[in-house]
Symmetry: C2
Subunit: 678 residues, 2 copies
């Protein structure tokens, strides 16, 4: 009774806070904004992390935790039995996932009685890839420094607290694996000192059902072991790997395995020794096999001399289809180029038939406005799954957007992408909308099902229930519109990939690292001819799709400049010319971002002051950046099209020469503080 | 015949240029883009500047120039007599004005046969005020350095050419006087060396009917003459002035007289010696009288201790009404504060009944975006004349926007304000539209009567004939909207008055030089209470207007915050609250500037490349500045109103704290190169 009074008081206090909206939150609690009980909830049965979490945060009736053999790995059931709720699973991980399921219902204000839930994950492996370097920087990291490396003391209380929250957040989604270091791996990742740190991290994450993995440098036998070669067929090399793997497993018995970026962007690989990707991957797989470890071998390869980078992975990997060990998974980026706002799916997915594959999504927004732009990525990943059947894959990897910023992800809404990745890895059939609603309800405390807005707003604005969810759902397409609509791709600034630099083409930089390689703008039109008359990339797709993509009149317009060199006067479905449509798309993107800002501003009475202001500030950057993108791209492409901006489109307000002189002085390890500033 | 062939060829060449729009013009020819004849036109009669101009530029039949006594000063008639055209006037100036009338018809493509024109100027004195300093800087000058002072060599050919063009431009409008130096006058303006330069300028301008005047420092007898006092009733002082004036007239027999800023903003004046404005003005008038010189005595006075600056001129000058000599004219700014985008008219104009008055308009855009914003000022001046009858004034003065930039005015469209000032001084009944059409036709070669656009444009945009003229006509109200709508005033950045700084209030700066003195924003509302319950400024207006202005429900909404402290929730005629209306007005201003940019962009095929690009660049600055104004003002005032920006208004994209930290590092003698740059 006393507990109920306190809980009620707490709830009333929270409600009061909600009314004044004067409190602040730094976002560090992510979507787990659970209030700890003053006295533990009644939980009986299996003693495990699920029990701890429920005792601390569950506010309902008694819970019983049960183990039961024969259930699916990581699956669980939740059943109401009178006053009590019974969670059943085959192991601790399943029980923990069940516990978070219950807590999610509680936080969303959904009914927690009469439950009859049965869940199991779609993929066995649901894994984050951290591109973290030993010195603590994070490649394409926009949320501060690494939570694992650099000057972090893995034995400190702060570190333990950080790992605990990281573990809880991942477990609440069902994420069960994490690669602790950058795919551009430093050899020292396998040094004994580094492995000891890895062990410490593994120990801290183990209670949350998370296995650790490492990216390895394929030349480690040379660079760490002092051998003369790293040839995967060399016996000394194999012995070195065996010894190293044994060392790892002695320290970390449940170590997950290796992630390998080989013969890609300058990283060493088996091709350096005249061997194939299969030779390299299989050697490591054989070494890991006795320990039940796996190899995730990346298919992200391309060559400077290639006339079409999008063709390369298929060319290298198709001949090897069926030659990989069963504990190798080929990890393929969703698109054949590189995490663009919109790409066609990578044709390897539908081509390879005899090789285990997993998709690599990029949660961190390398090409999507870093931690400044609100871009909810679930719709992009769902779009991928509309082409590639989830069941054709063995696992899902996501390049993490996590750093040591207070709010973990740099942008409060970037948390939703971590959340969505985890939820989709558990169940790729979940809709983007449902995931967004879950996240909004838990993270912002807004009820997306009824009305997000508690203050009356003029009907003209069209703001009402679910406005934030709608904004999230529209945000990826808006980003495509203001960055690179209609199939345009990779026209980013060099190095940091933040803003527009369609003109970027300095001497000495390899062509496939410059935008003109991709947009190929000229007086005739714009876009990369990948038809049978061009690079024939279309041929890597199933026949039916190949035909659709090959014909400019049947190719989806949102991929038009991906597959075609589109004439400026090509007639679009809207009746407009391609040039006019391009102008409209860019401008639509700008208008959308302005709408997002207005939607968010209307949330001020419902959201704590700190997160409101931090998100508002980011949205303002996004609006300004959208204008920058529109102006830079339209004015630059106009130097080829020689056509006017249509009258019913907002005209560029920046000057091309000034934009071309503008550079953001950051590396690929930082978030730009603001966008275009002149 | 040969001449006709050449002229035809030239016309064809011009037409060819028009089609390609690839030629460039620097704007130096202003609206006098006349093509010189290869052989002189046939002009007979009086030998004068009119003959020279017509011989050089007239492309029609023979002209006869006649003198005739008894005609109005500076007036003229133009009559067709068979093949010939006869211009008649009482003197050379009238003949020159008639010649330019004819050339204007020619340039606008209007009929030059069957003419029966009779013109005379509405005001005898049509005068520019140059705020030029001896060192060559121009106060509130945004078009480079002084064309008169500084390191200019008055004996050089360049200087003569510059004065010739200046003389022609003014004569083409009928401007017949110019004050060569700043009203904040340095004493050395009356040094013999400086007077010799003045004489050189006067000699160069005389052929164009332009008399020169000087601003004087009232303390000159002390500072130049070495006397102990400048008391206007002191005999030594009077003698000094007599000697100085005699010296001037010996050098410049047609010298015009003095312009005086006395006891204003730190300048010396008769009050320093216990005398009145009348004492000071009359002393100088008596000294000038024998030479037919005049005194223009400014009424721009205010005091730091005054609770309402707008009251001050009335308080100081009304008691002196009727005490001024008949060769004194009191020069009064159009509004009682200081050249704001919109002010109520200065109540002195309707109050003083026995004193000759002239209005001082500011052609240079001190408070209207300097030489970066396109703001056509004729509508503002016409608005003034809707309150103050032109016939109640003796003359019109305009503070010049002229400097040594190639295009004279910094912004090509700023030339239109010089043009409009001259035309209105000749005939204040001319409409803003007619003046804009004249200027557009002559300066840009566009035909505003038929269609400005030679290329087909989508009807959606609504662009067609007269679009540039429409843009000009809308531009002043747009500027009011994005800078300070609904009667708000003087919320400019300190010193340079370019951008918004409604918060500007540094310690030690007198209150009436800071925006909070004027906007008085608080939790209740916004605006300066000048009603009978407030500063009672309304009482300085005629009874009927006083009643209208005094009542918040009858006060024109465009002056609401000028006369009232308007509650945020005050219901406006639109049905919106005052706060919501304010938001809409600011946003309307931004949208208007974007529309101007689109209108101008559509002109690209019709305008030479140089002027097109220069104007486009300025319009882009204007759009960005308009957003800056909107965001800075709305976000700052929102800290008082505590009300949301309406949903159907575009929301601020800048952050208040960043805008408050931003400063443009320029003085009051420069044009800011660009606007807000974060």
């Amino acid at each position: 009774m006393k507990k109920n009074i306190i809980v009620t008081a707490l709830i009333m206090l929270m409600a009061a806070w909600n009314v004044t909206a004067a409190w602040g939150e730094d976002g560090s609690r992510l979507w787990l904004r659970l209030d700890a009980n003053s006295t533990p909830a009644t939980v009986s049965g299996v003693k495990c992390m699920a029990m701890t979490e429920l005792q601390t945060y569950w506010q309902g009736g008694p819970i019983v935790l049960k183990r039961q053999k024969g259930m699916a790995q990581d699956g669980y059931t939740i059943k109401s039995q009178g006053e009590a709720t019974v969670i059943t699973a085959s192991g601790d991980a399943g029980l923990l996932y069940g516990a978070y399921h219950l807590l999610r219902l509680q936080e969303m204000g959904l009914p927690c009685q009469m439950l009859d839930i049965k869940e199991k994950p779609f993929y066995d492996l649901r894994i984050l890839n951290h591109w973290d370097n030993p010195n603590g920087t994070v490649e394409r990291g926009f949320a501060g420094k690494s939570i694992f490396w650099g000057d972090k003391d893995v034995n400190s209380e702060d570190f333990a607290a950080s790992m605990k929250m990281y573990g809880r957040a991942n477990a609440s989604l069902g994420i069960n694996g994490t690669v602790l270091n950058n795919v551009n791996a430093k050899p020292e990742a396998l040094s004994t000192e580094s492995l000891q740190k890895t062990k410490a991290i593994a120990d801290l994450l183990r209670p949350y059902g998370i296995h650790v993995y490492l990216s390895i440098n394929f030349a480690s036998p040379i660079k760490v072991g002092g051998l003369k070669t790293a040839d995967p067929l060399d016996k000394e090399v194999v012995r070195w790997w065996k010894d190293k793997v044994n060392e790892i497993y002695r320290m970390i018995p449940d170590f997950g395995g290796f992630l390998v970026k080989a013969n890609s962007e300058g990283e060493p690989g088996p091709q350096d020794f005249g061997r194939t990707h299969a030779d390299g991957a299989n050697m490591l797989a054989d070494v890991l096999k006795p320990h039940k470890g796996i190899v995730m071998w990346r298919a992200f390869v391309y060559a400077p001399q290639s006339p079409d980078r999008a063709n390369q992975a298929y060319l290298e990997f198709m001949p090897l289809d069926g030659q990989f060990r069963d504990n190798v998974i080929i990890q393929i980026k969703n698109g054949p180029v590189d995490f663009q706002p919109r790409e066609a799916y990578s044709p390897l997915f539908t081509a390879m038939q005899k090789t285990p594959m997993m998709v690599e999504f990029q949660i961190t927004q390398e090409y999507l406005g870093a931690a400044n732009h609100l871009v909810y990525l679930a719709p992009m990943w769902q779009e991928f799954f509309s082409f590639v059947k989830p069941a054709s894959l063995k696992a899902m990897a996501g390049v993490a957007n996590i750093g040591d910023d207070a709010n973990w992800c740099g942008h409060h809404f970037a948390q939703a992408n971590w959340y969505a990745f985890g939820r989709l890895a558990w169940n790729p059939a979940l809709t983007s909308k449902v995931i967004a609603e879950e996240w909004v309800a838990q993270t912002l405390g807004l009820n997306p099902d009824t009305s997000l807005v508690t203050t009356p707003l003029p009907p003209a604005g069209g703001i009402g229930g679910g406005a934030v969810v709608s904004m999230m759902l529209d945000s990826r397409e808006a980003c495509v519109s203001y960055m690179m609509p209609l199939g345009i791709h990779h026209i980013f600034a060099g190095t940091h990939h933040y803003g527009p630099e369609p003109w970027y083409s300095p001497k000495g930089v390899r062509a496939d690292w410059t935008p003109p390689y991709y947009h190929k703008a000229d007086s005739i039109g714009l876009g990369f001819d990948r038809t049978l008359n061009g690079s024939a990339n279309v041929k890597q797709y199933p026949d039916e799709l190949c035909r659709v993509y090959n014909d400019i009149n049947t190719c989806p317009e949102n991929l038009l400049a991906w597959f075609h060199h589109v004439p400026w006067d090509h007639r679009m479905k809207s009746g407009r010319t391609f040039w006019d449509e391009l102008c409209h798309k860019y401008d639509d993107g700008v208008r959308q971002t302005r709408r997002f800002l207005a939607v968010w501003d209307a949330m001020q009475p419902c959201v704590d002051a700190q997160r409101f202001e931090e998100v508002q500030r980011k949205l303002r950057i996004q609006v300004r950046d959208a204008e920058w993108w529109r102006d830079a791209c339209l004015l630059y492409f106009q130097t080829f099209s020689h056509r006017p901006i249509p009258q019913d489109v907002e005209h560029p307000v920046h000057n091309l020469d000034e934009m071309m002189k503008f550079h953001i002085p950051i590396t690929m390890y930082e978030n730009p503080e603001s966008g275009y500033t002149k």
